[in-house]
Each structure stands twice: as structure tokens, then as C-alpha cells.
Subunit: 395 residues, 2 copies
Amino acid sequence: MQGNAVIGQSGGPTAVINQSLVGVVEGLRSAQGVEKMLGMRHGVRGLVSGELVRLDTMDQAALDRVANTPSAALGSTRDKPDGAYCERILEGCKKHNVRQFFYIGGNDSSDTCRLVNELAKQSGYDMHCFHVPKTIDNDLMKNDHTPGFASAARYVAMAFMGDNLDNASIPGVKINVVMGRHAGFLVGASALLREREDDGPHLVCVPERTFDMDTFVGRVEDCMSRFGRCQIALSEGVQDKDGNAIGATLIAGDTDAHGNAQLSGSGALGDQMAMVLKKRLTPVGGTPLRVRADTLGYQQRCYPDASPIDAQEARQAGVFAAKLMKNGERDGSVAIVRTSDAPYASEMQRVELTDVAAKTRHMPDDFLDGDFNVSDAFIEWLRPLVGPMPVAGRV
Amino acid sequence: MQGNAVIGQSGGPTAVINQSLVGVVEGLRSAQGVEKMLGMRHGVRGLVSGELVRLDTMDQAALDRVANTPSAALGSTRDKPDGAYCERILEGCKKHNVRQFFYIGGNDSSDTCRLVNELAKQSGYDMHCFHVPKTIDNDLMKNDHTPGFASAARYVAMAFMGDNLDNASIPGVKINVVMGRHAGFLVGASALLREREDDGPHLVCVPERTFDMDTFVGRVEDCMSRFGRCQIALSEGVQDKDGNAIGATLIAGDTDAHGNAQLSGSGALGDQMAMVLKKRLTPVGGTPLRVRADTLGYQQRCYPDASPIDAQEARQAGVFAAKLMKNGERDGSVAIVRTSDAPYASEMQRVELTDVAAKTRHMPDDFLDGDFNVSDAFIEWLRPLVGPMPVAGRV
């Protein structure tokens, strides 16, 4: 069926989501039946409003520049379309004679893709629908890891390395809050560059383990008496035994200064946790304990220094989605499957939209070591993904 | 006079303070009269307590690794010695037969160096005293710029570039709080990678300009109506017309949730400013305004990706301090002087300890453009210092 292709980007941006965009464009070049390639401004919102931009007229140099630029070049959206919204998306597709629909995003975006696909099928509208994976949280099913994660992990690992040395030079308690609402992969990356027994992070708090404040405070105390300092990697998604986010609990319970339980774009969780530790930890020799908190923030997803492997795989994922279409597939999502550990190798595979849509992957048990650490297996899994890393010199 | 040399690091670490440490060691190798080279653990604190470590026995490969590692490898200190403390430092020097005293740090550290030097002179103790400049704030007198600043500026510029693209992809108000208690050089670096009229940061708030909340809110509103978004670079040191830090005022006035006016290692200023803007800005079409705040945090001083020029100059500053000693100077500080703009070139010069000790340099007027922007002159001054930079591709 002759028609136009649309490509959109959705959800939180990453350092390599534009690689996937350019990959789809490149993959579609040799496709039969594709007239124009159109980018949706701000995801499906742009398709509904008709804010579409030509991508097939861009030259390779311009595409390469876009591919190497962090954040979503087309604009992104936080919209999570329901059935009625998806009807409007399908109307937009019909209006612009869209016959290929590509959506780059996380589990919400794959669900949008699934819904649009089902509506198109039901209405007898002939359209290919593909989801291209993207998420720094690494919480998509069927994937060894997802495009965007490795670059975020690279940033987190390097930030913690520098901060660990900073904390060693001026000792105290240092909390760093890391993104990842449901999965601990990214906060686990904080441990990648540990080399010595006394290197931080000394505690890694993941959403997959129940966060008990008393146990936590005890572990911080232990660490302070062993090393005279304690660097903490705290996931924004840590939860208590009743499944309540610690961030929300601390903020609601202690003060409403921050007004809400928004996890990103605020330093509230780290600051509240610092207050708890200042109150509960015994000062050494009358000197008030030095407790500091940083929230790593949006740099985790958009710092312009992507992992080379991540950039390459994100591009391939886009190309592969286009290839699925050219091979006659009606729909699907793309998954990165690891085919070799050493030397590291991966390949792209087609998976069903329903396998990833609106589902969440968590850290497997063997990636964790007790309640406050990641395992060696996790570190070995992560190491090949992040690119060249600095090595600390010591006196 | 035959004796030992001591070298110490003081104040907030930087990405290149170890370059200066290694530079001093290298510079002293060919010095007459130097027996051992000793590193002070945690600055003058280590000299007083006798925690000293041999540096002259390290091989070149180990020294190079240390030089390329962020943070202070010897450990740092926040101690600001008074006269009595400096007496104990001098006692430590005498006890360990120290005849060369090198102290790497900011304006407080240069003052320590000055005090120790004066006490030594008064007591007739024959000792060279040199200060080696270091500060990400760039607030040392007599210097075109200081070692550590350019790497921090590199980080800030790259963080703002990524965050600007992030903010463009999901529009709203975004506040990023930047270090620099008294000087706006570092927050100004946020503007380095602006290319288009609509690129952020749209507002740059420096400590050198009085921060008026009403004017600020008005400017944010203007920006929202022009571009539908607003990225703000907010110095942690912004002050109102009475010289009160806005951070402290907001926190004290509105809530005491954060307990104190500590500027770094907390997200309080950004979060409080976000609350003010949420309250005062008119929502568009009933949709609550999206306001987010990140505090760039310790990554500014210790992210392991130094500016190559900064690394080189920090090393040279250490070598030059040793050279001053070899040339027979009794004391002094080192200043980086720019000798050419294009191509960029600099040289090291000796300045008096009293010229830098406990003094603060501010941004010159011609580096500022109104109350909420830096000038082209500032950008031209900054550009050669930060190393290779990414260029954004756009669709």
C-alpha cells in the first residue's frame, strides 16, 4: 500500500533517542511504497494537530548531526492516549495517508502503538505499526537492555566516581538520588567504577528491595564507623513495605514544603533523607555530621556524552524496525538480545507489541546482593555497555 | 637551606587540582635542597597531625594517573586557620624540617599561606611559601581565570546544552542552580552553547546583579509567552537589594524544612524558586504550569571529564610555583595571564600573596548584558578554555 510514514518520539528523552529516529529514516530509504517520511512534533500530539515535518528531505550530514544530539529532536510528549485519543491518532493517520507508523519510546509508548495498531486493524485500515524501544530506566520486557539506558548508566557511573573521590577528600555522608521509578538498573550503575573496598557507593538502594528506614540508618552508621564516610546511591523509586514511595512518605510526613511527590525535577527526596540522617546519626565528638544530598537530575538522560555502544544500538534498533516493515511484518516491537558476553555482541529481534506494552521489567534477583548492593553479575553485565571509562589514580 | 617540601590541597576539590599537585612534584625534582616531598593529608590538618605521605617515591605513571583524576588525591579540608592554628602549622613545619610549603587552593587557602609565611618570617624560620591557585568559582584576583574553573565551566555548558534540548522537547519552566557563591563566571558558562534565539538559558542570574523577585517573575512570563518555555541558570549566590542570599531568604521566609541556608549539597534553593514560580505564574489554559528544578551539584567540580586546557594550565601552575622557589623567591602566588586571544595563549606569573589572599574577584561589567544575561565578550573570553564541545543537530 503506497503512503507516508510517520515517526514520533515519546516520553522522557535520552542521549540516543535521535539515533533511533535517524535509524528509522535510513532504514526506510530503500522501502517500497513509502512516499514521504514525516516526523510528528511532540509525538502523537503532532499527528493529531497536523504538526508534521519532512524528514526524507534532510541530507545525511544533517541527519548525522541530529543522531549525535541528545534529547528528542522532534519534541516529545507525556500524553498517554486512551481509546478516544487513539481514535484521533488513527484519524490523523488516515488524513495524512499514513501507512507506516513508528513510535520510539518506553512501555507507555509501546502501549500507544499497540492501541493504534488494534484500532487500525479493527477499522480495516492498512497500516504498519512498530515500536522502537527507548528508556533510561531499562524496564522494558524482552530486552537485555534498552537504548538510552547505557548512556544514562555511563553518566551515573562517572558522576559517582567523581563524587566518591570528592567525598573521600572531604568526608561525610553524601546521598545522590538517581532516576528509575520502578527499576534499579540505573541506580545500580553507580557501583560500576568501584575499585577498592572503601570506594562508594557504600549503599545502593533499589526499588526492587523494601526500604526500611531503621535498617538503612543502621547501615549508614556502620559505614561511617568503618570508613569515616558514606556515599549513598538512592533510587527515586525506593518503597517501604507497604509499597509507598519513600519520597512521598517523607515529604508528606515531615513537611509539605515541596508540595507534592513529584520525583524528578526536584531535590526533595534527597534533602528529606539528609534531614532524617542528620537527626538520627550520632555526631562524632560534638562536631555536627556533614550530610549532603545531590539529585542527579535531567543530566542523566540528556548529558551530551553518549555511550558509543548505546548510540550504535539505538541506531540499529531504528533501522531494524524499518526492516521489519520491509520484510512484510504488520507490527511489532524491537528488542536488543545479547548474543555474546565476551566479546560483547548483540542482535535485534522482533517481539510482539503485547509482550512489551505497559509492562515493567525489574532487576533480576541475581543482579542484587542483599538489600543495599548490586552483585558482581550485574557489574559484569553492565561493563561492556557504557564505553571507555576513567580509572582513578590515588596517592 | 636543606629540608623537606610539603604540598597540600584545600577547599572544594576540582577536576584538575591533582594536576597542580603533580606539577609541583615534577617541578621540585630538579630543585636544590629538597630532600623529601611530603603530601599533607587533608591540607594543613595533616601537617599538624603528622599525617604526611611520600610523593617523591611515586613513579611517573602513578603520578600521571593521579594528575588525570578529579578531586583532591591527598584529601582536602574546610579548615580556615586563625593565628593560633597557623602557629601549630609552623610548629609542624619545624618538626618535619619543612623548608618549602606549597598550598593549592582558593582565596582562603592563599590567606593561610600568607599567614604561615608571615609567622615563619617573624620567627626567623627559613621557609619558602607558595600558593597555587584553584577554584571553580574563578574568583581569585590577578588571574585571567583559575585552574578548575574551565573544567567546571565545560560541565555546566554541556549540562545546559543537553537540558535546553530536553526542555525544548517537553516544554515548561526549568531552573538549574549553579555553584558560585560570590562570582557569576560559572553560572555564566551555562550560556556558552546557545546557538539560536530560542535556545536556553533564557535567563542567567548572577550574584553580581541584585535579584529582584518581581522583575524576575516578569521576565520568566515574557519568556514563556515568547517561546512557550523558559530555562533559567540560577547562581546559588544570588542576592536581594539588601545583600541577603535569595536562597536563605526563601528558605527562612517560607519554610524551615531544609533547616539552614547551606547552598551546596541541597536542592532547597531550586525547589523553593520552583514553588514561587508555580504560585505566581499564570497557568496556560487551566493546565498547571510545568516547573522543574535541578541543582547541578558536586558534578560541577568533580565530573571526570576535564577541559584539556584546564588540565594543562593546572599542571603548569604547579610547575611554575616550584620554579619560583628554584629561582630563589621566598614566597608568592601564581596567576594565569592571558597573552593572546586568537589563538588562545597564556603564561604563568608570580603575584604577591597579599594580592590574592582573602580577596574576591567578581565578574567585570562588560561580561554582563543587563540583569539576566552574559555578554558576547564573556562568551568569547570563555570559549577557548573549555575544550571541544558538542554541536546540536536539529530537525
